[in-house]
């Protein structure tokens, strides 16, 4: 009889790794680290904008994960749990660097949190290339980082958590101490501001159109 080769082991799920790590399995913890360190570092870098601070945030994040590895409450996805810890450390770092009190990103009465004062699109033109062609070019990657870095903290934070890390509106609101309505307005502003900046660089000048305000 020909022995049947063992089926290839599927990659363990995040939850498997976390459970094993919680019982003291270092290799499983290393597996989680390998899976999430790039994502955590990227989140930190986008939020705090300084490499050194981003390294500190990454380190604090995994130290927190390690410390609580045997207390994980399984109602949250492992990814969400880790990203939430990372976002918390990043926000602390950001506030510290800005010399701000911990509540400042959540200023309750921010006049910009109203729909009435939305910035109107100015440069309106289809892009010269499609996103997948653009994504491969180094100068476009620089443009994306730069445009994001130029956003006001309060908009950048919401865009990173919602659109890049894909946390829910409720999770983002809870992390930032904002209402869900405020998160939505800030996300809209962030998107409009980034659209403007990217279209200035990537839009087809010859196909530019101008808003007509005469129809309703």
């Amino acid at each position: 009889m020909v022995p049947v080769p063992p089926a290839a082991e599927p990659d363990p799920s995040d939850l498997d790794l976390l459970r094993r790590a919680g019982r003291g399995d270092w290799t499983a913890f290393e597996g989680l680290l390998a899976r999430y360190q790039g994502r955590v570092f990227g989140l930190a870098l986008r939020l705090v904008g300084h490499r050194q601070d981003a390294e500190d945030v990454t380190q604090q994040t995994f130290l927190s994960v390690l410390e609580h590895v045997d207390q994980f409450r399984e109602e949250a996805a492992v990814a969400t749990w880790i990203l939430r810890i990372a976002a918390n450390h990043a926000l602390k770092s950001l506030r510290k660097r800005r010399g701000l009190p911990t509540t400042s990103l959540a200023a309750a009465e921010d006049p910009d949190d109203r729909y009435a004062a939305l910035p109107h699109p100015r440069f309106i033109a289809p892009w010269r290339e499609l996103p997948d062609q653009l994504a491969e070019r180094a100068e476009v990657r620089c443009l994306l980082d730069q445009a994001l870095a130029e956003l006001d903290d309060k908009y950048r934070v919401v865009f990173v958590l919602r659109d890049i890390e894909e946390l829910s509106t409720a999770e983002t609101a809870a992390l930032l101490g904002l209402t869900e309505a405020n998160v939505k307005v800030r996300l809209l502003r962030a998107r409009l501001l980034l659209r403007e900046r990217l279209t200035e660089a990537l839009g087809d000048e010859a196909a530019r159109v101008f808003p007509t305000h005469d129809h309703g």
């Binding site: 290393e30 994504a135 994306l144």
Partner: protein, 84 residues
């Protein structure tokens, strides 16, 4: 629906969330069909999000990666000490 109203409801439309009623969705689609600038703005925003979501994962600097690993290992041994 005016361009201004469309702008305010943009998130719901782009995200396809259920906050829009069927009637609102239809109004939205009708406006877009007759308004080239708004159509382009919606496309631009979708492409902006796509670009950011498609960014490659950042690499940790090698020296930092080593330091991180060492420090975590040390903490690990404090948390889960091996019986001697």
């Amino acid at each position: 629906m005016t361009c201004e109203e469309l702008l305010q409801a943009l998130n719901e439309y782009v995200d396809g969330t259920l906050d829009l009623s069927l009637a609102e969705c239809q109004e939205f689609a009708e406006h877009l069909a007759g308004c080239n600038p708004c159509q382009i703005v919606v496309d631009n925003i979708r492409q902006t999000i796509t670009l950011y979501q498609g960014q490659q994962v950042y690499e940790l600097p090698a020296a930092f990666q080593d330091r991180l690993q060492q420090q975590l290992r040390k903490k690990w041994q404090e948390k889960f000490p091996r019986p001697t």
